[in-house]
């Protein structure tokens, strides 16, 4: 009689081996499943690419309106390499503040092109805006990530952006190293940006008299940047990232369409001059992001950023995304809250008093360099849908945001300007529909 071999007694060592074997089997199955997602060569166009697309509508209260379709294509190859391409088209129209001060009297401005038919008049008490603002932008970019060891990867990318008065090329490269069982990643990247400006009517001589319209041909600016980052898995449900970055831009950093009002001690506008910014700027920032999965339904992404530059701007940003997953993970709601504040650049001034000689020689009334705080409230809803072709699923989403800027510092103004809203702030809405498959 042949006896069946006795089953080994379950010891802790055996149990551990079984667990390891089961884990390996699972990992193997996952790898096979991942490879199965890499479509064969004869699959249709984009069949093995993931596509993330959106159409955004952005509208500022009484100012700019922008329509922005965006598409992002990504593919991960079986050997771990990945390719990413993105394209953006912007169509902008509406009214853009020209930097001049609101006045009790009507103000007439020439258009940047100098064409008489584009001259415009701003009514008393209204913020001077150029009503003929129109622009389109096309931007395309690509990124290639190449793992060259089991724990190291190199990534290179480029982006080209074209507007009728601006052309930009950006290249970047970064390297990342994983250690501690891929729980820690150190990364380092550099970028270089080359910009060419060809403003309508020419690039104004900084600080020159607006009435004389002293303008030159196109200008350039370029920037270099570096970023060092650490990503750390803290616990089973907590991922953190900390980055420090620095960038330096040199060249023509003025906004060629911005002017500053010159007023007398009585508050009357006596003229305007083109803004004059320094020709270089160095920014440094620290960024910290935390993603926490609280339970099956709730996860949060909280990011904090501190930035400072040698123009005197310091800013703090806090942003919270809260994702609430519903049903069988087939839809989610994501409220967002963002708080931002910045100090003014040293040379920011809403107007120039004609009796005052600027000490630095620089001035700008561009409100984006002023001291303000901003709040963004947002809500996103996404619904998983059946996939297309061989894809398991797709996702449709709709998102809305409300953005509001409120100015903090207010400079003492002559009595004649009392009663005017010199710091109107900004209110804007963003509505976006997205489709990912």
């Amino acid at each position: 009689m042949q006896l069946k071999p006795k089953a080994p007694r379950p010891t802790p060592a055996n149990a551990r081996r079984r667990l390891i074997a089961a884990s390996c089997a699972l990992l193997g199955a996952a790898a096979r499943s991942q490879q199965a997602n890499v479509a064969p060569a004869d699959s249709g166009l984009l069949e093995d690419w993931s596509v993330d697309s959106a159409l955004a509508y952005y509208h500022e209260d009484g100012r700019i309106l922008a329509i922005e379709p965006v598409v992002n294509l990504a593919k991960v190859f079986a050997d771990g390499q990945s390719l990413n391409f993105n394209g953006t088209f912007d169509s902008l129209s509406g009214s853009s503040p020209n930097g001049a001060l609101t006045s009790h009297t009507a103000q007439t401005f020439a258009s940047p092109s100098g064409k008489a038919k584009h001259a415009y008049t701003t009514a008393p008490g209204q913020l001077p805006v150029d009503p003929n603002y129109q622009d389109t932008r096309i931007a395309v970019g690509g990124n290639w990530t190449l793992p060259f060891t089991r724990v190291d990867q190199l990534s290179v990318g480029a982006k080209v952006s074209d507007e009728h008065d601006f052309f930009s090329v950006t290249v970047n490269a970064s390297i990342a190293h994983d250690f501690n069982e891929k729980n820690t990643t150190l990364s380092f990247g550099i970028s270089n940006e080359f910009d060419s400006l060809s403003p309508i009517g020419g690039a104004p001589v900084p600080g020159s008299d607006y009435a004389l319209s002293q303008k030159n041909a196109g200008k350039t600016k370029d920037g270099v940047g570096a970023l060092i980052g650490v990503t750390q898995v803290m616990t089973r449900n907590w991922l953190t990232e900390f980055n420090v970055s620095v960038d330096r831009f040199k060249g023509y950093l003025n906004d060629p369409y911005k002017i500053t009002s010159i007023i007398d001690s009585a508050g009357n506008t006596t003229g305007y001059e083109f803004e004059s910014r320094p020709d270089q700027r160095t920014r440094k920032s620290a960024y910290w992001e935390n993603r926490v999965g609280w339970n099956q339904q709730l996860s949060t992404a909280l990011s904090l950023r501190y930035m400072t530059d040698d123009w005197g701007v310091r800013s703090d940003t806090a942003q919270l995304h809260l994702r609430w997953t519903l049903s069988n993970r087939d839809r989610y709601i994501e409220p967002t809250l963002r708080w931002y504040r910045q100090t003014a650049a040293d040379f920011y001034t809403p107007f120039i008093l004609s009796a005052t000689v600027p000490t630095t020689g620089f001035e700008s009334s561009d409100s984006r360099l002023g001291a303000f705080h901003a709040l963004t409230y947002g809500l996103k809803y996404a619904q998983k849908l059946p996939g297309l072709g061989s894809r398991a699923e797709s996702e449709f989403s709709v998102r809305a945001e409300y953005y509001q800027q409120t100015f903090n510092e207010r400079i003492a103004t002559p009595a004649a300007l009392q009663g005017l809203d010199l710091y109107p702030g900004l209110k804007a809405i963003l509505v976006q529909v997205g489709w990912r498959f």
Partner: protein, 75 residues
């Protein structure tokens, strides 16, 4: 002075993470929550790109999560 503060902050955080990283983290089979879509850094690249463009054109700060350049003549 601010740059010294930033450098110091980075060094402290890096040292803290480097010294503590051996006791932090999870085993490969404990990555179920971390593998979720919403737990990925840059989980919504298109949303982030649209937001970044909006803030780049309206504020004096940009970048942090990635490089600060905008490639846009809007600011």
């Amino acid at each position: 002075m601010k740059s010294k503060h930033l450098s110091f902050l980075f060094l402290v955080c890096s040292a803290a993470i480097a010294s503590g990283c051996t006791s932090l983290g999870v085993k490969p089979w404990q990555r179920d929550v971390l593998a979720r879509e919403e737990m990925q850094l840059g989980a919504d690249p298109v949303d982030a790109a649209i937001d970044d463009h909006m803030y780049f054109s309206k504020e004096a700060s940009s970048g942090g999560r990635s490089f600060a350049g905008g490639g846009c003549g809007c600011n």
